[in-house]
């Protein structure tokens, strides 16, 4: 194996690199969304409009239903559109082309079409943007057969999984965590891809498994450091994709530690954590020494005020507290 050279870049730069590389590699890839053409608007799309032109880096009207449906049509006709939703909250205006059309067309038409579409959906709170600009909605979409759902938590996965998503012949919801945009981390140089459908152990440990989705995988790593200071050896597992969910990959860790916390930024009820907890008790009930505990956003909208927002959203401290409860 040749030595892989690493360098440190941010999560948003990793996304930007993946877009640059895939657009250069395949002329069928094009990017579409509100405010994607001008470099200054988002670091994730910087330089693309200048490099590839405004045909392939295409501003849209504020018309989520229209341009998402158009992307599905272009995908049926042989293109590989990548959509920029700006915020997942705005994507609610485009649920029909995603859930009724993109996800079902191949099945409904008996395999006559494939829909190679990537929907980039930045999301999440912590910036005092309030109830309609802070949500994490990935749990909604694991209920939609036919859709891949990817939730990267660090720069290497953001780059590697976005490149894989663009090469995938199926519709992919690619969730980006706004709180992680400035997070720096090591990313291999060159054509770095990561497999869709494989969980990753982000920190090895033996006492408890902390499973984190997206932004909360990062919080789990911070929680593991704090727990280490108190003599607890926590393992951190990041599912990385939640449809398909790598149940066996996650269960392997739980079989080792016997204890488990699931943390996500979405709301607790009907959340990704609920799905993971249910899957784990099916796959590894005998290995569990204690009940699985969930850390998630409380079941209220995300308020603007800093203090109130912190009450509602999950955090490193809440994960530490939950872990201690499970270990006691």
């Amino acid at each position: 194996m040749p030595e892989v050279k690493m360098r440190t870049i941010s999560y948003s730069t990793a996304i930007n690199e993946a877009l640059h590389e895939e657009m250069a590699r395949d002329e069928k890839v094009f990017l579409m969304g509100e405010d994607v053409a001008l470099s200054a608007i988002s670091p994730a799309t910087a330089g693309l409009g200048d490099r590839f032109g405004h045909e392939r880096v295409r501003n849209t009207p504020i018309s989520e239903l229209g341009f998402t449906g158009a992307a599905v049509g272009a995908a049926m006709a042989g293109y590989r559109p990548v959509l920029d939703m700006r915020r997942i909250d705005f994507m609610m205006l485009a649920i029909d082309p995603i859930a009724n059309q993109a996800a079902k067309l191949r099945y409904m038409l008996g395999g006559q079409v494939s829909i190679p579409l990537v929907i980039r959906a930045p999301e999440g709170g912590g910036s005092q943007n309030g109830p309609t600009h802070s949500q994490c909605l990935e749990a909604w979409f694991i209920q939609v057969p036919g859709l891949r759902v990817i939730v990267p938590s660090d720069p290497a996965d953001a780059k590697g999984l976005l490149k894989s998503a663009i090469r995938e012949d199926n519709p992919v919801l690619f969730v980006e965590y706004r709180a992680l945009y400035s997070l720096e981390g090591p990313v291999p140089e060159g054509d770095h891809t990561e497999p869709i459908g494989k969980a990753a152990v982000k920190r090895e440990g033996s006492d408890i498994t902390l499973i984190g989705i997206g932004s909360q995988a990062r919080s789990c790593l911070e929680a593991a450091e704090l727990l280490a200071g108190e003599g607890v050896d926590a393992e951190v597992v990041d599912p990385r994709t939640i449809n398909p969910l790598d149940v066996e990959g996650i269960a392997d860790s739980v079989r080792k530690t016997g204890r488990c916390i699931v943390a996500e930024e979405g709301h607790k009820s009907g959340g990704v954590g609920a799905e993971i907890a249910a899957s784990l008790q099916e796959a590894a009930f005998g290995a569990l020494k204690t009940p699985i505990n969930r850390v998630a956003a409380l079941d209220v909208p995300v308020p603007v005020h800093t203090k109130l927002e912190a009450i509602v959203l999950p955090s490193t401290e809440k994960i530490v507290a939950a872990a201690k409860k499970v270990l006691s």
Binding site: G66, G69, A70, G73, D96, R106, Y107, M108, G110, G146
Partner: protein, 322 residues
């Protein structure tokens, strides 16, 4: 409302008549099979509206695209969709176009440029814009036509798709079959305009209302709109005023619930087949020749569908991911 001039050759018009008859007989057959329990799922027939299907598709090339609706048998047939595989789909056979997983409301034959019946009202229009965008990006001169009803013209998807096509000059023809009713709700109640084609003005695109019972009028308007799109000049909106002689589905009668007998009889007197027969001054012998040829096609389709196998259980889990 635009009516036809008489520039069409008898041969061309005769082909359109044949298409309309094929649609009529296919849908009558589907309805009969539904009544004896041989059709799986719902069926929405377009009997009465055949001139729209036949007139529009006669203006298209084989490599152009159509997208249609839950009431899409006519558009499918007019675009060249294979009857045996289509009937097999309705009858829940694995040889069906969608391997028995889409049914009547999702008929597609992509090999014939038929990108699907789409049963969520309005959803097909943004997708048509996207297919038009693909043609434009590739530098092709193909055109996509999207069929929809009066009800769908009140849906945001129509307006968003019209705007996208207009700003990007996409090669898309919007064809509204105004059959006067969205299930039971009259267009005059639900729609802000008398002629839906005037909505094109909001998008600075050509709009025209035609007699949707006159296949020649539909063809002439469509030919112009298709040429406009092919030249890279963007979308057009055509409205065909038409009528379905059957209920929305099998759940409602031809008249008496939300349509009067007088209204129904008025439109029935303008049956697009009869209108076309008169234009062609068709003799009884000529009519019989058309009918015999179509019956042979229908018979072949029934035999194929009846003798085809039902799906294996494994089919339920196939075609989900590429």
């Amino acid at each position: 409302m635009a009516r036809s001039t008489s520039r069409l050759s008898r041969k061309r018009l005769g082909e359109m008549y044949r298409t309309m008859l094929r649609i009529r007989r296919f849908e009558e057959t589907a309805d009969d099979l539904y009544m004896v329990g041989k059709v799986v799922g719902g069926v929405h027939v377009s009997i009465g509206q055949e001139a729209c299907s036949a007139g529009v598709c006669a203006a298209l090339r084989e490599d152009d695209a159509v997208l249609t609706t839950h009431r899409g048998h006519g558009h499918s047939i007019a675009k060249g969709t294979r009857l045996p595989e289509m009937l097999a789909e309705l009858m829940g056979k694995v040889t069906g176009l969608c391997r028995s997983k889409g049914g009547s409301m999702h008929i597609a034959d992509v090999s014939k440029g038929h990108y699907g019946a789409h049963s969520i009202v309005g959803a097909n229009m943004p997708m048509a814009a996207g297919i038009g965008l693909a043609y434009q990006l590739e530098g092709k001169d193909q055109v996509a036509v999207v069929f929809f009803g009066d009800g769908a013209s009140n849906n945001g998807a129509f307006h968003e798709a019209m705007n996208l096509c207009a700003i990007w000059k996409l090669p898309v023809v919007f064809f509204c079959e105004n059959n006067q009713y969205a299930v039971s709700v009259p267009a005059e109640y639900s729609t802000s305009v008398d002629d839906i084609s005037v909505r094109s003005k909001g998008y600075d695109a050509p709009g025209l209302t035609v007699d949707g019972m006159d296949v020649a009028a539909v063809y002439e308007a469509s030919r112009e709109a298709v040429a406009h799109a092919r030249r890279g000049l963007g979308p057009s909106l055509i409205e065909g005023k038409t009528y379905r002689f059957f209920g929305h589905s099998r759940g409602d009668p031809h008249y008496g619930m939300y349509r009067t007998k007088e209204e129904w009889e008025g439109w029935k007197g303008r049956d697009p087949l009869i209108v076309c027969e008169k234009m062609l001054k068709m003799t009884a012998k000529q009519k019989k020749a058309h009918a015999d040829a179509v019956e042979a096609e229908i018979k072949e389709a029934i035999e194929f569908a009846e003798s085809s196998p039902e799906p294996e259980e494994s089919v339920a889990l196939e075609d989900i991911f590429a």
